[in-house]
C-alpha cells in the first residue's frame, strides 16, 4: 500500500496549528516525539485548546487523560506489566473504544515510577494543559515517594484525590502531614484501625477538603482541619459534638472556615446542635429544609440548614455557611 505523504513542517504556522488541532491529542503527542523541530511546533502551536489533564498514578501504572469540556479526548496508559517496550497500539484501529482512543506505553525492566514521572513531565512540557485532577493511592510501600512526587504538582493542580483500598491510620496521618495542597483535596480512602490510635492528629491545610467515607472523622479530627470548606460524608459526630464545634467557631476557632457540610448526618435534634448559640430560626424553605442563623463573636453570621430526608433519615444533611466579611 502506498502511504500518502504531506510535509507538515513546511506549512505556514497558522495552517499547521489548524492541522494539529484537528488531530486527537495522542497523535499530537506522538508527533512531538519525532524530532526537536516538530516538538517545538507542537509546543508553540498546540496551545490554548481549552483542554485539561487528569492524572491517575499508581505504583506500577499511570493513566493520563486529556479532557475538553468534561469529555475525554485521549487516554495515555502507562503500564509496566507488559513485556514490550514498543509503542505498540495502532492509532484509530477498531479495537479502540469509539468515542476516544487509548495509547498504551508499555514499560519493561525499568523503574516504573521514574519512567512515569518522566512521562508526566514530558506531557506537561509538550501540552501545557492545566492539571484539573490528580489522583493517587497511598496503598503501596512507595507511598512516601509518591506523595513527594504529587507535591511537585500540587500548586498547579485544581483537585487532588487520595483514593485506594483500606490503608492503616498511620499512613493516612502521613498523607495529612506531608501532602501539600493549597487547592481542593478529596479523600476516597477507607482507614484501618482509626479508633486504636490516640496520639495527636496532624493538622491538614487545603482550601477545600472532602471525605467520601468520613466515618472515621470525629470531633477531634474535624477540629484539626484548616481550610475554607469541609464536606464530610457519614462523619461520626453527634449533636453534642457538633454543638461544641459550633460554639468554638462562634468563639473564633477555625477563622478561615466558610462552609461545613455534613452529608448523611442522620437524624439531628437541632435544639442540641444549636444549644447556647442564641440561634434564631430563619424559616422553612421546603417541607423538610429548615434554616437557623447565629452570630459569631466577630459579628459574622452563620446559617445552618438542616435538610431532613424522610423516610431515609440517615441521608439527612447539615450545611453550615459562614458569611465572612
Amino acid at each position: 500500500m502506498v502511504v500518502e505523504s504531506f510535509p507538515i513542517l513546511r506549512l505556514p504556522s497558522l495552517a499547521r496549528e489548524k492541522v494539529l488541532k484537528f488531530l486527537i491529542p495522542i497523535q499530537v503527542f506522538l508527533l512531538s516525539q519525532f524530532s526537536k523541530r516538530m516538538r517545538y511546533a507542537v509546543k508553540s502551536e498546540y496551545r490554548n485548546t481549552g483542554q485539561e489533564l487528569s492524572v491517575s498514578v499508581h505504583s506500577s501504572s499511570m493513566l493520563i487523560c486529556t479532557h475538553f469540556s468534561g469529555k475525554i479526548t485521549g487516554e495515555f496508559y502507562v503500564n509496566e506489566i507488559e513485556i514490550s517496550n514498543e509503542w505498540g497500539m495502532r492509532i484509530g484501529s477498531k479495537s479502540f473504544k469509539k468515542r476516544f482512543i487509548r495509547l498504551t506505553l508499555r514499560i519493561y525492566n525499568r523503574n516504573s515510577q521514574e519512567y512515569t514521572k518522566q512521562l508526566l513531565e514530558e506531557f506537561i512540557d509538550v501540552f501545557s494543559f492545566p492539571i484539573a485532577k490528580m489522583s493517587f493511592s497511598p496503598d503501596k510501600e512507595d507511598y512516601k515517594s509518591m506523595i513527594q512526587w504529587v507535591n511537585t504538582y500540587s500548586q498547579k493542580t485544581q483537585l487532588i484525590i487520595v483514593n485506594g483500598p483500606r490503608v492503616p491510620v498511620e499512613r493516612y496521618f502521613y498523607v495529612l502531614e506531608h501532602l501539600e495542597s493549597p487547592n481542593n483535596v478529596e479523600f476516597q480512602l477507607l482507614i484501618e484501625d482509626h479508633d486504636s490510635r490516640s496520639s495527636r492528629i496532624p493538622t491538614f491545610r487545603a482550601e477545600k477538603i472532602k471525605f467520601i467515607y468520613g466515618d472515621f472523622i470525629r470531633l477531634r479530627h474535624l477540629k484539626s482541619f484548616n481550610g475554607k470548606e469541609y464536606i464530610i460524608r457519614e462523619a461520626t459526630i453527634n449533636d453534642k459534638e457538633l454543638n461544641e464545634f459550633l460554639r468554638g467557631l462562634a468563639a473564633g476557632a477555625n477563622p478561615n472556615l466558610r462552609r461545613l457540610k455534613l452529608e448523611r448526618y442522620g437524624k439531628a435534634v437541632i435544639d442540641d446542635v444549636l444549644k447556647n448559640l442564641r440561634a434564631g430560626k430563619i424559616g422553612e424553605y421546603s417541607d423538610y429544609e429548615e434554616q437557623w442563623s447565629f452570630e459569631l463573636e466577630n459579628g459574622n453570621q452563620a446559617i445552618l440548614t438542616y435538610d431532613e430526608l424522610l423516610p431515609r433519615i440517615e441521608e439527612s444533611s447539615i450545611d453550615i455557611v459562614i458569611n465572612r466579611d
Binding site: 502511504v3 500518502e4 505523504s5 504531506f6 510535509p7 507538515i8 513542517l9 513546511r10 506549512l11 505556514p12 497558522l14 495552517a15 489548524k18 492541522v19 488541532k21 484537528f22 488531530l23 486527537i24 497523535q27 506522538l30 508527533l31 516525539q33 519525532f34 524530532s35 526537536k36 523541530r37 516538530m38 496551545r47 490554548n48 485548546t49 481549552g50 483542554q51 475538553f68 479526548t73 509503542w87 495502532r90 492509532i91 484509530g92 484501529s93
Partner: protein, 201 residues
C-alpha cells in the same frame, strides 16, 4: 454546484457578465487571468481589503491591469476562486482556537480537493496567504484526516518528519549552499589544527 460548474473562468474562455455585479480581474504569477465576483472576494480577507483600498469602479476593473497575485500560480488560484465562488455569501467562521475542532468537508470541497498533495500544499499556502478561513479549515482537515488509522511509524512517514540528525544535516547543507566560503574556512581551520597550530590567526 459541481466543481466543473463553478463560475470562475479564465478570462479568455467565456463571455463574462459585467453589469450590476462587479467582477474583479486577478492575475497569477504564471500570467493566468481570472474574473471573480465581488461577493466571492469577501471570502478572502486579504483580497477584500485590497479591493476596498483600491476603490475601483466598474470601468476601472475593465480598463486597468489585472491585480497581480505574485506568489500563487494559476492552477492553485483557479481552485481558490472556484471555492470562493461556490461559497460566496456564506458567513465566515470565527476561530476561537479551541479543540476538538468540528469541521465537515462538504461534497463540493471534497471534490475540489481531490488533487495531489503537492497541489493541496499550494492550496493551503494560498488559503493562508489570502486569509480564507473556511478554505483553510477544510484543507487542513483533509491533511489531518491523513493521520487516521496510522501507527506512529506511519505517522512519521505521512507527515514527512525528518529525524533530528536529518534536520541537522539539511541545516548544514543549507548553510554551505548559502556560503561556500564558510566551508573553506572551516576546512582551513581543521587543516591548521592538524598541523599543530594553536590559533587560526
Amino acid at each position: 454546484m459541481s466543481v466543473e460548474n463553478a463560475p470562475v473562468v479564465d478570462v479568455d474562455e467565456a463571455a463574462i457578465p459585467v453589469e450590476k455585479k462587479m467582477y474583479y480581474r486577478f492575475e497569477s504569477n504564471d500570467k493566468k487571468e481570472f474574473r471573480v465576483s465581488e461577493l466571492a472576494i469577501q471570502q478572502s480577507e486579504t483580497l477584500n481589503r485590497l479591493v476596498e483600498a483600491m476603490g475601483y469602479t466598474s470601468e476601472d476593473v475593465e480598463n486597468k491591469p489585472a491585480i497581480a497575485i505574485e506568489n500563487i500560480d494559476g492552477k492553485t488560484l483557479k481552485l481558490v476562486f472556484q471555492w470562493c465562488e461556490h461559497h460566496k455569501g456564506e458567513a465566515i467562521p470565527v476561530d476561537d482556537g479551541s479543540v476538538p475542532k468540528i469541521v465537515e468537508i462538504p461534497e463540493f470541497d471534497a471534490k475540489l480537493m481531490d488533487i495531489d498533495n503537492g497541489l493541496l500544499f499550494k492550496l493551503i499556502w494560498a488559503a493562508d496567504y489570502l486569509n480564507i478561513v473556511q478554505l483553510l479549515n477544510v484543507s487542513c482537515k483533509k491533511v489531518a484526516n491523513m493521520a487516521q488509522g496510522k501507527t506512529p511509524a506511519q505517522l512519521r512517514r505521512v507527515y514527512l518528519l525528518p529525524s533530528d540528525e536529518e534536520d541537522e544535516a539539511a541545516k548544514r547543507a543549507a548553510q554551505e549552499a548559502q556560503d561556500p566560503r564558510a566551508r573553506e574556512v572551516e576546512e582551513e581551520f581543521e587543516e591548521r589544527k592538524r598541523q599543530g597550530g594553536n590559533s587560526f590567526f
